[in-house]
């Protein structure tokens, strides 16, 4: 038996609920699971993603020690004496470079390095770079029902702990989350609370200087001590992402696809498919394993975005699983509408006009149907003069190869048999796919959970396994703020998330759609301002493209259950998901008000009906604004524009004491809840049990 720790990369998620959390899903597109306060899994999928106060519950990631046959080692196993966990997560965002799209991505060659591109550091004026890291240091817990918090107070004395100062805007980061063990000593990592704060105004999707958030990633070490005194040491990685607001809707290329692609092309996962630097045309794809998931993911995009041009790709225009010669023309027609991926190592040598990832239509700027997938690529924002342009999305190279095998008929349509094995036919653990498969894999600009560094083989030790710079010995002297793990040598806590927007809400607010120029392969934006005050706008003509709607929905349907006096909308209307959140600052404060997009008809999988649910409607006010109000022409009063907004709150303007009043109230009420020393007074004791308690 060969035990290992899974998932190899776990995914916890932020929530602002103080106490409530659930456990991460174990399948791609699966729902998370309920758990008790110690993270003991309750075998029931989550139905409410928010608590009674409308706050989003956090997602905990459980870790399991299993072998290939799914035998699990826990404290309850006969031969196990003890299980000890050490987790070290950190947030390096503020110490890293500004996010300038693909600048710094070494897959495009050394000339694209941060230094050659002169990419500025975030918070460049801060000379103590390490002070910019949020680093609570490692935490070790052992046995059942143990817990630890990633805060400053509980850190070990000899570790160089670092937390940011109290900001003027937003909320101070005091913790990156916590860890617990369940009744059998399994670890659950629970992320932060979605707090973010800074001093500078937020103006860009990449965030701003002086800001911090409580996203994190880092190492998970486990030591199993057996009754005979032998020890087994295992390790994994955990990342903390923002909430998955549409858990049952999956990106066409998710992070599991990205890791699989790296494993196939760079880690020799399957020589029959890829060897000697090329895909093998003799390889037989499998319809159910390789093709159908892509089609299903395309089919669910419509619930979070308007991509009507993709609808034929999910209709039964022909039998997709028919691998006969007669069906080949159909399959090829289908396949030919997919944009060909480019190889980052060589794409810069290709003339821009021939770069397939810059082409919207099948003949470049001309054609009749936008190519698939109809998403933005990883850089539809800046120009070729100082960046790598990547306008439109392609599948991963491996996905594209498998689809090409399907088109040419080199595929089997036999349903894989159900198996009790913990691994798939490539030897990849299901648990490892089930965690990262719910994260964005493409495009990466920067993305939602992690970014393009995940496409680089040097950060991996093995397929789906992150290379730990310390090889399991940890980082007792603290973390390095400036080291680039993409140059090799392995990763430190904080490295996987450090390129992401800071705070994450900035990217989430700004990047759901992008108007992408589709005529000039080297230019995305032009300056419509002056040299001194540039105003970069997309170069026309543009195409309305989505980034990652399954993670950051845009066009959603209202549901049939919410009180319509609060929603101000009929059921079944397609509306903007973020309606009412009208600025970066509002997103930072009010992201928990956003709804979750849920399938309301789960009992009939063939007939999904996804609607928005659990949106905090009471936060938002609504007005019908006649067009005449804007134009000043009374003739225009026959058309109204619906406007959702957060009513201006007098207190938020006046409260220079920040949240002092709230904090004071809370501490007083907490003291009240503690028993108060008193002898009974000369009055009847009030009855208990008649009040509603939360």
């Amino acid at each position: 038996m060969n035990y290992s720790l899974h998932p190899s990369v776990g995914v916890a998620r932020l929530g602002n609920s103080e106490g409530q959390f659930y456990l991460a899903p174990d399948q791609i597109g699966g729902l998370p699971f309920e758990a008790d306060e110690w993270g003991n899994k309750i075998d029931s999928p989550v139905n409410q993603f928010k608590d009674q106060e409308g706050r989003i519950r956090r997602q905990g990631q459980p870790f399991k020690i299993i072998d290939e046959d799914n035998n699990e080692l826990t404290l309850a196993s006969d031969n196990v004496k003890a299980v000890t966990w050490t987790v070290h997560i950190a947030n390096k965002k503020a110490a890293w470079y500004e996010f300038n799209e693909l600048q710094g991505n070494l897959l495009f060659g050394e000339e694209n390095s941060y230094s050659n591109r002169r990419t500025p550091w975030r918070n460049a004026s801060e000379t103590n770079r390490r002070s910019l890291i949020i680093d609570p240091g490692p935490r070790t817990i052992t046995g059942a029902n143990a817990k630890a918090i990633f805060d400053e107070a509980s850190a070990s004395n000899n570790y160089p702990v670092s937390f940011p100062p109290k900001p003027c805007q937003g909320t101070e980061i005091k913790s990156l989350g916590n860890i617990i063990t369940d009744n059998e000593g399994r670890l659950v990592v629970i992320g932060g609370y979605g707090n973010a704060g800074g001093n500078e105004p937020l103006e860009s999707y990449g965030g701003a200087d002086s800001w911090h958030d409580d996203i994190a990633d880092g190492t998970v070490y486990c030591t199993i001590t057996f009754n005979d005194g032998q020890e087994l040491k295992l390790s994994a990685w955990v990342i903390v992402g923002s909430p998955d607001f549409a858990p049952e809707i999956v990106n066409i290329s998710n992070l599991s696809d990205t890791m699989f692609d790296v494993a196939i092309r760079e880690q020799n996962l399957c020589a029959e498919m890829y060897s000697n630097g090329e895909f093998q045309p003799s390889y037989q794809a499998n319809y159910y394993r390789d093709i159908e998931p892509i089609i299903q993911r395309i089919s669910r995009y419509q619930w979070v975005s308007n991509v009507q041009s993709m609808s034929a790709f999910v209709s039964n225009i022909f039998d997709f699983k028919d691998n006969t010669e007669e069906n080949q023309a159909n399959r090829s027609a289908y396949f030919n509408y997919f944009r060909k991926p480019v190889n980052p190592a060589t794409v810069q040598q290709t003339p821009p006009i021939e770069q397939t990832n810059q082409q919207l239509f099948e003949h470049g700027i001309e054609g009749h149907l936008p190519l698939m997938p109809v998403n933005s690529g990883s850089n539809s924002v800046s120009n070729a003069e100082d960046n790598i342009v990547d306008k439109f999305l392609t599948l991963t190279q491996t996905q594209y190869f498998l689809l090409s095998q399907w088109a040419s008929g080199s595929f089997s349509n036999e349903k894989p048999l159900p198996t009790t094995s913990a691994q798939d036919s490539f030897g990849v653990f299901h648990a490892d796919q089930g965690s990262v498969g719910n994260c964005v894999g493409l495009p990466m600009c920067p993305g939602i959970e992690v970014t393009w560094s995940m496409q680089n083989p040097v950060i991996y030790a093995a397929p789906y396994v992150i290379k730990d710079q310390s090889i399991g010995s940890g980082f007792p002297n603290g973390l390095d703020p400036e080291r680039d793990e993409c140059e090799g040598g392995g990763c430190q806590p904080g490295d996987l998330t450090k390129r992401m927007a800071c705070p994450w809400q900035a990217d989430f607010f700004n990047c759901t759609i992008q108007n992408v120029n589709f005529t000039d392969p080297t230019v995305n934006k032009v300056n419509e301002g002056t040299a001194e005050e540039p105003s970069m706008v997309p170069l026309a003509p543009t195409y309305y493209s989505y980034w990652w709607p399954p993670q950051s929905p845009w066009d959603v349907l209202t549901n049939q259950v919410d009180d319509q006096s609060a929603t101000h909308l009929p059921a079944g209307q397609q509306v903007n998901y973020a309606r009412g959140i009208n600025s970066f600052v509002q997103m930072v404060e009010h992201w928990p008000a956003l709804g979750f997009i849920r399938n309301q008809n789960t009992s009939e999988p063939n007939f999904p009906f996804f609607t928005e649910s659990e949106r905090n409607h009471q936060l938002f006010a609504y007005k019908d604004v006649p067009v005449s109000d804007i134009t000043g022409n009374p003739q225009d009063n026959g058309t109204d524009i619906p406007v959702f907004y957060i009513p201006d709150d007098v207190k938020s303007h006046l409260s220079s004491g920040c949240s002092k009043a709230k904090a004071l109230l809370k501490s007083m009420e907490e003291k009240m809840s503690a028993p108060i020393t008193a002898k009974p007074a000369g009055r009847a004791v009030p009855r208990s049990g008649t009040r509603t308690r939360r």
Partner: protein
């Protein structure tokens, strides 16, 4: 779960008067002090102007000015009063010729006082409303209170300090007699500037029915309040936004100040601002402080300073009470002292209002220009 609670001194109300009383008791005695506060502390506090005379009082409370942080006291940059004339006069010239004034951020101020009460060992029950008050034969009080989560419980105390503010239902239920001199009422709103920032000044402008007051709360925000008699406000329906705004349009300077600004909240706020005097010294083991004792016209800028000085006086009486007779004697002295201060205030008030002669026949002004003596 709270069953019952006992303390030496129960202070009803956790504003500056209640907090000052508590701080003084905590600084100088070993008495246990509990404050009950009906609000959740989140309510809006309208800033006000004070003279520099409050700083020695804060020192006495062992709360130096620096403790409140920057931004709590902003020196008044300037002020214009269109009072008695269509020409602007410096407000100092009319109302406070000898003293510098400061704009107080009441949120920071009140909360810092309260936080210090907690840090020095006081107990505060927020969201706790007082209901029935019963005096036991031994002179102690039992105050029945209600908290939205903890439910009803009783607090027994030796001394009851009434810091419940202008409405002071407590004093009425105990049999104090409150003399109401006028029913001045403020109706106000917050404005946010559309683009340019507000001048950091106070502006006062009188009209036939009362006077407008505005102060900048930040460069983006001003508060605008109209003070008039309650009867006029209800007759002219100035508690309604449209009528209030209509009335504002008739003002010459105030309307100009907010012409490039918009209402932040659709609801106007309404606060009593009248003058009254509480006669309480016949009630055992009970003392009012702040507005519950004497309420002053806001034009005097006396409210906050008095809240704190009266709190200090009351704490001294309680701290030094050796016997019921001794308490009674000092309570009478306190009452007389208040009467003297109040008499002096009535003189000031008449003096202020007398400076406006343009509408001396209008009831609002005529009433305030007569010399009134406190009926003791």
């Amino acid at each position: 779960m709270i069953h019952a609670h006992e303390c030496d001194v129960l202070v009803v109300g956790a504003g500056p008067a209640g907090a000052s009383t508590a701080l003084n008791l905590l600084n100088h005695t070993k008495l246990s002090v509990t404050l009950v506060e009906s609000s959740d502390l989140q309510r809006l506090r309208v800033g006000e102007s004070v003279s520099e005379s409050i700083f020695p009082i804060l020192d006495y409370l062992r709360l130096p000015k620096s403790h409140f942080g920057t931004g709590c006291f902003t020196p008044t940059q300037g002020n214009s009063a269109f009072w008695g004339s269509d020409k602007s006069a410096n407000r100092h010239a009319i109302f406070a010729p000898d003293r510098a004034t400061f704009q107080v951020n009441r949120e920071v101020f009140d909360l810092t006082l309260l936080e210090t009460v907690l840090n020095r060992g006081g107990t505060v029950f927020p969201r706790t409303k007082h209901k029935a008050v019963t005096q036991l034969q031994d002179g102690r009080y039992v105050v029945e209170v209600n908290h939205p989560e903890h439910g009803k419980f009783a607090i027994t105390c030796n001394y009851l300090v009434d810091a419940s503010g202008r409405n002071s239902s407590l004093s009425k239920s105990l049999g104090a007699s409150v003399t109401q001199h006028d029913r001045l009422t403020g109706v106000g709103a917050f404005y946010k500037s559309d683009s340019t920032s507000f001048e950091q000044i106070q502006l006062i402008e009188s009209d036939e029915y009362g006077w407008w007051y505005s102060a900048a709360l930040s460069d983006q925000m001003v508060v605008v309040t109209y003070f008039s008699d309650f009867e006029s406000i209800s007759k002219m329906k100035l508690n309604r936004q449209s009528q209030w705004q209509q009335h504002l349009k008739h003002s010459k300077y105030m309307s100009k100040r907010v012409e490039r600004a918009h209402f932040i909240d659709d609801n106007l706020w309404i606060r009593p601002a009248g003058t009254h005097f509480n006669q309480f010294s016949h009630i055992k083991n009970y003392l009012p402080v702040g507005d519950a004792a004497c309420a002053f016209d806001p034009i005097s800028s006396m409210g906050l300073g008095f809240a704190m000085t009266s709190g200090c006086q009351v704490a001294t009486i309680i701290g030094n009470a050796t016997s019921p007779a001794n308490f009674n004697e000092n309570s009478h002295i306190y009452q007389q002292d208040l009467a003297r201060q109040f008499e002096e205030y009535l003189g000031f008030k008449q003096h202020f209002y007398h400076k406006e002669q343009r509408w001396s026949d209008a009831p609002f002004w005529a009433k305030r220009q007569q010399h009134v003596h406190q009926v003791a």
